[in-house]
């Protein structure tokens, strides 16, 4: 049977997480169909058609998919679900929002946030903030799965799949978007960045965060991240948060500056290749996971680091 992957996109292009999800789907064995539900989303569909391993792109192009609302996307996926053995989406705020609706209406379990595929019905997923890994087997006729992007290397281009238009489901009219405040940044996306400079409460203020960490991120071509404490204190917007309940990241290099290393923060970054910690407290738990720990006052160490790069 075929596998349905739900694309995350902004109508003009695919989000990186879609390619990680396609990589997880490729481990299952079976034709992969990529659903692009959007409004004027032909460009995103074309990118999907070019992804390696995609056999067919289904494009549902209708105004009710402009905002990517959970009620409408779930209804569409449900209308297409028969004939698929697996339905996958990224475990991003997009996928987490609508996929449980799909699972509930199909009367099947959802397998959240998988990090490995062991077979077509057996998957590994972190529980307890990543302090344990559960291997779970599903007996349901359809497996509804969300995928942790950092666990699967993205598929490259190399396909040339046909794009087939599919009819949208009726507009539920249950939800209206009043507005969005999206963070605009020229920096790389947190989830896909090779280097991340992340700051915590130790920075003391939003001004200090920007004064010290922005030039450092500029030098390293890095994305900026933060602990929950830094977000709660208003230093940076919510979408900077790394952790159990924020973004999960796994860059080549993660610099934790003025972050203590609570389990909830570690849950979001401990799979990074190299971790650097700068903290004035030699006993901060972050040092237990850091490859290179520098016990220092960040107000002195960060300017020195910027100068040395």
């Amino acid at each position: 049977m075929a596998i349905l992957v739900i694309a995350e996109h902004d109508h003009a292009s695919l989000k990186a997480a879609t390619r990680n999800t396609l990589a997880a789907a490729a481990r299952l064995g079976g034709d992969i169909h990529l659903l692009v539900a959007g409004s004027n989303a032909a460009a995103a569909a074309q990118q999907g058609a070019a992804c390696a391993g995609v056999a067919k792109v289904l494009l549902a192009d209708a105004p009710q998919y402009a905002e990517q609302g959970a009620e409408n996307v779930a209804a569409l996926v449900l209308s297409l679900a028969s004939g698929y053995s697996h339905i996958l989406a990224p475990a991003s705020t997009f996928g987490k929002n609508f996929m449980p609706r799909v699972a509930a209406l199909l009367d099947v379990a959802q397998i959240s946030d998988i990090v490995a595929v062991q077979s077509a019905d057996t998957f590994v997923r972190p529980i307890y903030a990543g302090n344990a890994l559960a291997t779970v087997q599903s007996a349901d006729p359809v497996k509804v799965i969300t995928v942790r992007g950092t666990a699967f290397d993205p598929v490259a281009d190399g396909g040339s799949a046909p794009v087939e238009a599919v009819a949208g489901a009726a507009d539920s009219g249950q939800s209206k978007l009043l507005g969005r405040e999206l963070t605009v940044s020229a920096r790389p996306e947190l989830g896909a960045a090779k280097v991340i400079v992340s700051g915590g409460r130790g920075l003391g203020s939003g001004d200090k965060y920007r004064e010290l960490l922005e030039p450092l991120a500029d030098k390293l071509g890095a994305a900026l991240g933060a602990s929950r404490a830094a977000v709660d204190a208003g230093f940076v917007p919510n979408d900077f948060q790394v952790g159990q309940t924020g973004k999960i990241v796994a860059p080549q290099l993660y610099l934790a500056i003025g972050i203590s290393g609570a389990i909830q923060h570690l849950a979001g970054m401990k799979d990074s290749k190299v971790i650097v910690a700068i903290n004035k407290d030699p006993d901060a738990p972050i040092f237990q996971v850091a490859d290179y720990g520098l016990v220092a006052d960040l107000n002195e160490a960060v300017p020195q680091l910027i100068a040395a790069l």
Partner: protein, 250 residues
């Protein structure tokens, strides 16, 4: 307007759990249990709606063993009016089963608003609220950092990967809480005493007519690979040198 708040009893967020040697699960013996932090935020929000005159009654519900009564009493001490325990004994409950139990409770209680946590910090599933909304055919607003009720509608600001968005949804609906929705109060001693006298009813999955059999079988629970951390560098020059020549990441 009645508000229903599902609360889960979970391992306290400060506990670093350990995997059992036989890989059948995590060791929960003598571990501190608390209300799921996101559910505390949900109870607080519901109580604030009542204090603002927007809700008439706050009902909390927990599905699990009899020990969930403690969690329900905590919610009553924050200010909920009434509690329901769906006593499931030691049966393993998965999110779909919880959503079905909550659907049955909704049928009896007819709330206009259900406020759930966005995720339970033990299973990290992030499913129940959305599943309940789907089973009820209701709209949803997940990951809420602001909730405004007016004219029979809810305006909800949501934390999404790119920033924030604000939705307007009709009621009844399900809202799930994110960390920045509010800061839950500490229950005062008099309120803890008062909570002991508030009504707490018990029902069971059988009475509610819900099959809670698990759909996923846990084959094993294992320890994640450990990181070899702990090395220190002398100063910034040493750090830069090692990043360039040893780790080769800059």
């Amino acid at each position: 307007m009645k508000v229903l708040v599902p609360v889960k009893r979970v391992v306290d967020y400060n506990v670093k759990v350990r995997v059992k040697a036989d890989e059948t699960g995590v060791d929960l013996a003598n571990v501190k249990m608390s209300m799921n932090p996101f559910d505390e935020i949900a109870v607080e929000e519901a109580v604030r709606l009542k204090e603002a005159g927007l809700a008439t009654e706050v009902v909390v519900v927990s599905c699990g063993p009899a020990a969930c009564q403690e969690t329900l009493r905590t919610a009553l001490a924050i200010g909920a009016d009434r509690a329901i325990l769906v006593d499931c004994g030691e049966t393993e409950l998965q999110p779909l089963a919880v959503a079905k139990l909550l659907k049955a409770v909704c049928a009896a209680e007819a709330p206009q608003l259900v406020v759930c946590g966005k995720q339970a910090i033990d299973d990290d599933a992030n499913q129940v609220g959305q599943m309940l909304a789907a089973l009820q055919g209701w709209p949803q607003a997940t990951f809420a950092s602001k909730l405004v009720l007016a004219d029979g509608k809810a305006q909800v600001t949501r934390e999404i990967d790119g920033g924030l968005e604000t939705l307007e949804i009709g009621l009844p609906a399900v809202v799930t809480t994110d960390l920045r929705l509010n800061e839950p109060r500490y229950a005062s001693l008099p309120n803890i005493m008062k909570a002991k006298k508030k009504p707490l009813d018990t029902t069971t999955p059988a009475t509610l007519g819900v099959d809670v059999a698990p759909r996923l079988k846990t084959l094993k629970v294992s320890e994640p690979p450990r990181r070899q951390g702990g090395a220190k560098v002398a100063d910034v020059a040493d750090l830069v040198n090692k990043l360039k020549n040893e780790a080769k990441v800059i």
